[in-house]
Each structure stands twice: as C-alpha cells, then as structure tokens.
Amino acid sequence: MPEITKTRKAVIFCCENSSLAVNAVKDTRLLEGFEQKVLPCSGKLEVGLILKCLEREHPFILVLACPLDNCKYLKGNMRARKRVDLANNICEEIGIGGGRVRMDYVSSLDAHKVERILKEVREQIQGGLI
C-alpha cells in the first residue's frame, strides 16, 4: 500500500440530488482540488470503492447524500452512512487513520451548506490533520 500523499484530488461522492447543490456552489474556487463522482443514489456507494480511492492516493473522501427520510430510494442514505462508518473503521484498523471519509446530508438546495463543508474539509487537509 503506497503512502498517502497530497498529490491527488479529494473525491466527492454524491447522489444525483446532492450533486445539484455541488453544481450550484457560487465560489467555484472552493471546488478546486476536489473531483466529483456522481452516483444515482448514495446507496450505490461501496466500501470497496472508498478504499480503492484511498489506495489510489486520493487524500480524502467526502460523501454527500440526501437528508434522512428524503432519499428517493427510501433508505439509500442510511446504507451509505453505514458503509462510510465501516470504511472509517477499516482505515483506523489498517493504520492510515480514521476520519478520512466524511459524510454529510445535503439537499439539492443547500449550496451554502456544501460551501461550508468544502471549506472545513480543505482546512482539515491543508492543516495536516490527515
């Protein structure tokens, strides 16, 4: 397993609805250093996919899903939550540190919330917390 470096972009996994909020972010500079991967529903996200991204030296994974009770597919966001927790546990266990994967609930209108999250993630990465 290669050492985690900061040479790659952080990954945003988002569902179709939360991707609309990411697209509506006004200050596009905030999105620099992130690459967005859109899934039909956050419930499609697999632990393997998260670990694969970390293995490919992406420093951070941000998962955006619809608010609870608002998933178009009933419980996709709850499934994603469990997988994110599992991925973090695995990271902790294999010694690369938990907290590399963060999940937030964002509705399609919450562009300002996405901006705040992106700022926090950026500080976290640049501040060397990862």
Partner: protein, 794 residues
C-alpha cells in the same frame, strides 16, 4: 388539441401546466413578475440531517421539468389587459421582451455573457435554472436596438419583438393560480416590523437561511410570533393560514440545529398539526430545548439593554421577555393583483379575499383559493386538472413520446387497464368511481360485508373478500382474491390500497361514564334526563396530538350536544387544530353556541367515580391544578397513529413508516404513490384522516393512475441492473434491499434478475450484493474510478 391559459407561474400554475402538457394539451402561462416559480423561489430547504418534509426541493424539481416541456410556453413580465369570455376565451396580453423559450434553451449562459449592460441574471436552485431580465437596465427598453442576447443564443431560444409586444391568446379554459402575498406585518405597528431592527417576517428568514446559517449573528436569541395576520377577526382575517406553524417550527428546528447555542422561543395561540409525523416532530423540538409559550405578544420595543423587549399576556398579568431577533410568522393574504384579475375574469372573492369562479371555463387553484402548503398546492393543482378534463375540455392529442437519445434498447411493455381497489371506505369509493368515470374497469373489494351508500354502478364490487396472494409487477399484477365463492384469480394493471387502519384504541379504559368520542352522542341520549344542567366533557390530545379530522369530529359532536337542552359541553385540549377555513368557522360557531374550550398543559387525568367523571388538569392561565366534574366524558378515538394492516402491506410489498402506516412515498415522487411502482396508497392507511384532504388525494391518485395506464404501454429503457449468472449465489440480499421490489429469482437461469419496468436504477442492490454479481450499466466501478484529471495536483 386544446390550449389552456394559466395565470401565474407559481408552483400551482406550473404543476397544473405540467400535467396538462403530459396529457397532450398546449399551455400558455402568463406571469406578471420577471421570474418563474413564485413564492417558492424565496424558500429555504429546512432539512437538518433529516428532512422536515417542507416540499421546497420537490417544487423546484417540478418547476425545472415543466418549463422545459415544449407544450408549455411561459411568458414572464406579462400583464393581461382585456378578457372576453363569450363562446371562447380570448385574452389580450402585453409582454416585455426579451422572452426565453426554455424548451429550446440549453442553459449555456451565452445570453448572460453577451449582454452589454449585464441585465440578465442566472439563478439556479436545485435542478431549476432560469434567466431573469432586469428591464430597467435593458437597452431595448431604453429605446436602443440591442439584440445581443438573441444574436448570441446558439439554440434560438431568445425572442425579441420590440421592447413590448401585444398579443391575443385564445384558450379553451383558463386556470387562475395567482397565489398569495404575505400579510403585511407593517400593519401590526406594535410588533415593530419595519420600525425596529432585527424584526423579520417568516419569508425574510426563509430567504436569509437559504444562503447563511444564522439570522444576524451566531448564538442569537430568536423568538417566533405566530398568527400575525391569521386568526385575527379585528384585521378581518378570521381564518388559520395553516402554513405558518409548519414553516415556523421547521425554521426554528433548522436554526437550532445549525447552532446549538441559539435560544428559541415560540409564542403561539394553537400549534397546528401539519403533518402526519407532527407529534414526533414537536417532541423533537421540545427535546432540543425550544420554548413554547402560549400567548401572542402585543408590544415590542427596544429595551434598555439594546435587545427587543416583548410584552406577553400571562394569565391576568403581563410578562416581559427580551430577545435578539423576532420572527413574525405572517399569514397568507390575497395577491397584489388579485382585485384586477378578479375583475378581468369575473371571479368571486370571499370576505378574506380568496377567489372562486362562477364561470364554467374558468378555474381557480392554489393559494389564491385557500391557504395551502407547497405539497397541498401541487395536489390541488392535480385535482384542478382532473376537474378541467372532466368538463369536456380534455380532447388532447396523444402525446408523442419523443425518444431521447439513449445507448440502450427501448422496449414497449403492455399494461392492463384493470384496477383493483382494496377497501370500500371514502377514499376507496372515491378513487373507484373517479376511475370508473374515466372508463377503466374497476374491481373494488372489502373484507367486511358492507353496503356502499354511493351508487357504484359499473364497479365490480365484491364484499367479504380479501387479497391472498400477489405476483407480477406494474401493469401486469396477478392477484388471488378470496371471495365468498372461493378463491378467484384476477389480473390487474394497478392496485390501490385504501384499507384504513385498525382501531387500536388508546390506553385510557373506556367504561362506565367514559366513552369513546364517536359514541358520546348516543351515550348522552341514553342517560336519564335530569332537571339541572349537566356538564359533558370531550377530552382531546390525551395521548397524541389531534389531527384536523379528529378535531372536526369533536367540534361537530360538541355543537350537536350543546344544542340539546340543559347540556353544557366542555372541550379539553392542548391546542385547537383548525388549520382550514371550514374548521375555523366550525370552531367559531361552537364557541358562539356556548361550548367551553379549556386548554390544559401537561397530563390530564380522567377518572370515573361512579356517578360521573372527574377531570383534573393543570391550567396554564390560572397556574394551578383544576378539577372539573362532568356527568360523562368522550375521549378522542385515540391510539392514533393506528397501524395499517401489516399482513396486507407485506403482501403488496410496500414498506411502512415509523407508525406502521403505509409510507407515503418520499417527497420526490407524487403523494399517493408507494415504493412499489403500480401500487398506490390512500386515506387513513397512509396517515391522512381529514375528509376533504382524502377526497383531494383520491382525485389526484385517480389522475396519476390514468396517466400511468392511459397509453396502454410503458416505454422502458433497458438500462436496469444486470446480474452475472455465474457470480450470483442466490442469497436474496438484492430482493430484500431493493426499494421498489424490482428483483426476482429467475428459476430457469438460477440467478436473480431485475424487472426492467420496475427497476429505478438506483444501484442499491449493486452496493449490497456480497458477491458483486450485479452491475448498473453506466456506473461500473472502473468507470467511476477513471477520471480525466486523475493526476491533477492538489
């Protein structure tokens, strides 16, 4: 082909237009302002980590879909000058140019970039993008011959025909959906809006919270004042606006969630029950530390500390409190141009300014007809369209389904037209007869041997029968029904569940002088007449907050008993749920007839002492414990939320919510749907008990069913999930995890398989499959991982 005119491009008008267009009609929408979307444009998403079911996101999705429809033409900044409604409806309008035809627009921003004075603003909210012109700045309106936006538009979506153009639109019918204006809080001078800093209205707060986390600083102390301009006979507005409690409570929850240090107080008269999850919602709010204070402040001044000092009536005295910011929950008032539109279209206006139409080909919907929430407006718009279609204006051309470019094969799957309705309650009967009128063969079954009051001629009504097994999928369900003549096999296209709920009853024992509310009238009659006046109690809110439906029953019963001789009725409740104009009137008339309403707080105890009933409670006004003796007490049917039939839910393959009621599908989809395509749920099994709302939902459901099965086929793109036969280990995980019941076992191949017309392409099964046997086309792992700028430096 008929053409319809819709006045107002708010959520009501747009939803109605979208349905009409899907039915094959052409629709012209006239909007007086420069923006499409109306009031919804200024509303914030009020979700914390969990959705608060406000419906703003779904409204934006609906707006986005509608304006791109080629049958809908929206004209913004347009005014109506003349209406002639003789044999046909002719309307003369004046519109300000440029206009954008969104069915052609590719949202490329060329117009924004090419405008020499920057008069075009692009706004994006969720899926919904639009361009708004500032006519003050526009060179065209300054007499110059600018047409840069038109020349630079690559798709020919911009139209310019002089600065202002006049035109005549002829339509078969018109739908008026001009919406509302918020009550002007400046009229309440003593509450300080417009006079003192940091006094906001609810809509100001919506606007602020849609782009920032707090009102004016973090950790503030905010108070909400309810019923500003609602339930206020002095202001000539003796009705409940029904939306203010919902938005205020949701906004309060968001403020508290975003900053735990925010202190929130809500001043109220009665908190209305606005959603089926209301009790849980209110408990959550109280658990978060939000203060509910009964009483509406009558004066707001700047105190010595610089904070806003609020005076509130407290029993006989006055108490004061200080807050950093105030939010006035203003009610719904008539739109600014309401009088003008009413004159032009000869509409009737009631004492509160709500419109209705006496003309045959003019219809009114949305908040200009009565106070409605976003989701209720969308349902009402659907019902209005059904009404218009029912009036013979419905001759539409069959909409051609324009194939969008797809790499996948598209297959036509035939649908059966037969509909099964389970449950012959009001919701079931209403849906069955609506569908029968539309010409569908309807089978109505009910467990009990009941005789319907309505005329159900033409509906195949089988009593004493129930569904025993169900197979197949949308359009082709195979059902076994146990009838008194044995088990019979039927085929259906669509299934409607309207089974009602099992009455669990509440935990307070009903015996002796304590009876259930629906039996109170009989029980009072059965008693021996006494010479002196007797007190009769109706106890509400005992275990769970009452709904509009149970409040209606309580008020009707109270009024009926009060009008008998020598009875005095007391209603004990925590809050009076009168969130509809009819209920407010009923409440008023029962008070006028002498019914005494007593509001209690905390626990109330009802004890039978042999000769009568003793009711003990805490009175929030007197601040002490009060004991009332009555001869008999009726307690609300209670035990709500009652469960829907779990066996039936399992049989139908649909999921329940936290109360065991059939889940009304998540707000992205239409209100009557369930998680399984082709299965609909209505009425109290879905958590809706209020009669008028049930009828509205039933109508809307009939319309959605019509829309689904009318074409006779479904066009299905074969981009559903694919199962690798060799990898599948038949663990059934996909079958359990699929939200729409699209997975089946193919016994020939010995592996799981998805049904194309049911699969929603969400990929949940892909994520769950332990053998990684399932692939969602277009979202293979390799495709997700590959990225053009993969090697980009951070």
């Amino acid at each position: 082909m008929s053409k319809f005119l819709i006045v107002g491009a708010g959520i009501s008008g747009i939803s109605a237009a979208e349905i009409l267009a899907r039915k094959g009609h052409y629709v012209e929408i006239i909007e007086s302002t420069g923006a499409i979307g109306g009031k919804v444009n200024g509303y914030a998403c009020k979700a914390t980590d969990s959705c608060s079911r406000c419906g703003v996101c779904i409204a934006n999705t609906s707006l986005a879909g509608a304006i791109r429809n080629s049958r809908i033409r929206t004209r913004t900044s347009a005014t109506i000058n003349k209406v002639i409604n003789n044999h046909s409806l002719d309307v003369w309008i004046e519109q300000k140019n440029p206009q954008i035809d969104y069915s052609k627009c590719s949202f490329c921003d060329s117009c924004v970039n090419s405008c020499p004075v920057g008069c075009i603003t692009k706004t994006t909210r969720g899926e919904f993008t639009q361009y708004i012109f500032d006519h003050e700045k526009c060179l065209l309106h300054k007499g110059k011959a600018c047409s840069q936006c038109l020349e630079n538009c690559p798709s020919g979506a911009v139209e310019i025909n002089g600065a202002v153009s006049d035109m005549k639109i002829s339509a078969a019918a018109a739908l008026i959906a001009i919406g509302h204006e918020n009550y002007d809080a400046r009229n309440k001078v003593r509450l300080g809006y417009g006079r003192l800093e940091n006094v906001f209205t609810g809509s100001d707060v919506e606007e602020i919270l849609s782009h920032q986390d707090y009102l004016y600083r973090s950790g503030e102390d905010v108070a909400f004042i309810q019923c500003v301009g609602s339930r206020d006979p002095e202001a000539g507005r003796n009705f409940c606006s029904s939306v203010c409690c919902s938005y205020a409570l949701r906004l309060a929850r968001v403020l508290k969630y975003r900053n735990k240090d925010t202190k929130i107080t809500i001043y109220y008269i009665d908190i209305q029950n606005f959603d089926k999850t209301f009790t849980a919602f209110r408990n959550e709010l109280e658990g978060m530390g939000i203060d509910f204070v009964r009483g509406i402040p009558f004066s707001v001044e700047r105190g010595r500390t610089g904070k806003l000092k609020v005076l509130v009536p407290d029993g006989g005295a006055v108490s004061s409190a200080e807050h950093d910011a105030l939010v006035l929950s203003t009610g719904i008032a008539p739109a600014r141009n309401s009088d003008r539109i009413a004159d032009l279209f000869h509409l009737d206006s009631d004492e509160s300014g709500f419109l209705s139409s006496p003309e045959k080909n003019i219809f009114v919907t949305g908040t200009c007809s009565k106070p409605l929430s976003i989701l209720d407006s969308m349902t009402a718009a659907g019902e209005a369209v059904r009404f218009i279609s029912g009036c013979g204006y419905g001759e539409a051309e069959i909409p051609e389904i324009t194939p969008h470019e797809t790499a996948f094969e598209v297959r036509d799957i035939p649908l059966r037209r037969d509909v099964l309705v389970i449950g012959a309650g009001p919701a079931g009967i209403c849906t069955a007869s609506a569908l029968k009128l539309m010409g569908y063969p309807v089978t109505l079954i009910d467990k009990n041997n009941i005789k319907p009051e309505e005329d159900l001629a033409g509906v195949d009504f089988i009593t004493g029968s129930e569904l025993v097994s169900l197979d197949g999928s949308v359009g082709n369900f195979i059902a076994d029904i146990k009838t008194p003549r044995g088990i019979m096999n039927f085929n259906f296209g669509v299934i409607v569940a309207a089974t009602g709920t099992e009455n669990n009853g509440n935990t307070v024992s009903k015996k002796g002088n304590i009876v259930s509310l629906d039996r109170l009238g009989e029980a009072v009659s059965a008693r021996k007449r006494r010479r002196e006046a007797s007190a009769v109690a109706i106890v509400l809110d005992l275990e769970i907050d009452e709904t509009r439906a149970s409040t209606e029953t309580a008020l009707k019963t109270a009024l009926e008993i009060q009008e008998r001789e020598r009875y005095q009725v007391f209603i004990f409740c925590k809050d009076m749920r009168v969130a509809s104009p009819e209920l407010e009137r009923l409440y008023q008339s029962s008070r006028d007839s002498g019914v005494t309403i007593i509001k209690y707080s905390g626990r109330l105890s009802v004890e039978d002492d042999g000769s009568g009933v003793i009711i003990e409670f805490d009175d929030p006004y007197l601040n002490r414990r009060v004991v009332v003796q009555c001869i008999i007490a009726g307690i609300s049917p209670g035990g709500i939320p009652q469960k829907a039939d779990p066996a039936l839910m399992k049989l139908l393959g649909i999921t329940g919510d936290c109360y065991g009621q059939i889940q009304e599908n998540n707000v992205h989809l239409f209100p009557a749907g369930t998680n399984r395509p082709g299965v609909f749920a209505l009425g109290s099994c879905r958590g809706e008990h209020f009669g008028p709302q049930i009828l509205l939902d039933a109508g809307a459901a009939a319309r959605s069913i019509d829309e689904l099965i009318a074409p006779g086929i479904i066009k299905v793109e074969l981009s559903n999930v694919v199962v690798d036969q060799d990898k599948c280990i038949l663990c059934l995980t996909c079958i359990r995890s699929c939200p729409s019941r699209a997975m089946i076992i193919n016994s020939e191949k010995g592996c799981a398989q998805s049904i194309a017309e049911v699969c929603q392409k969400c990929g949940i099964c892909v994520g769950e499959c332990p053998a990684k046997a399932i692939v969602l086309p277009g979202y293979e792992d390799t495709k997700i991982l590959e990225s053009a700028d993969d090697a980009g430096n951070y």
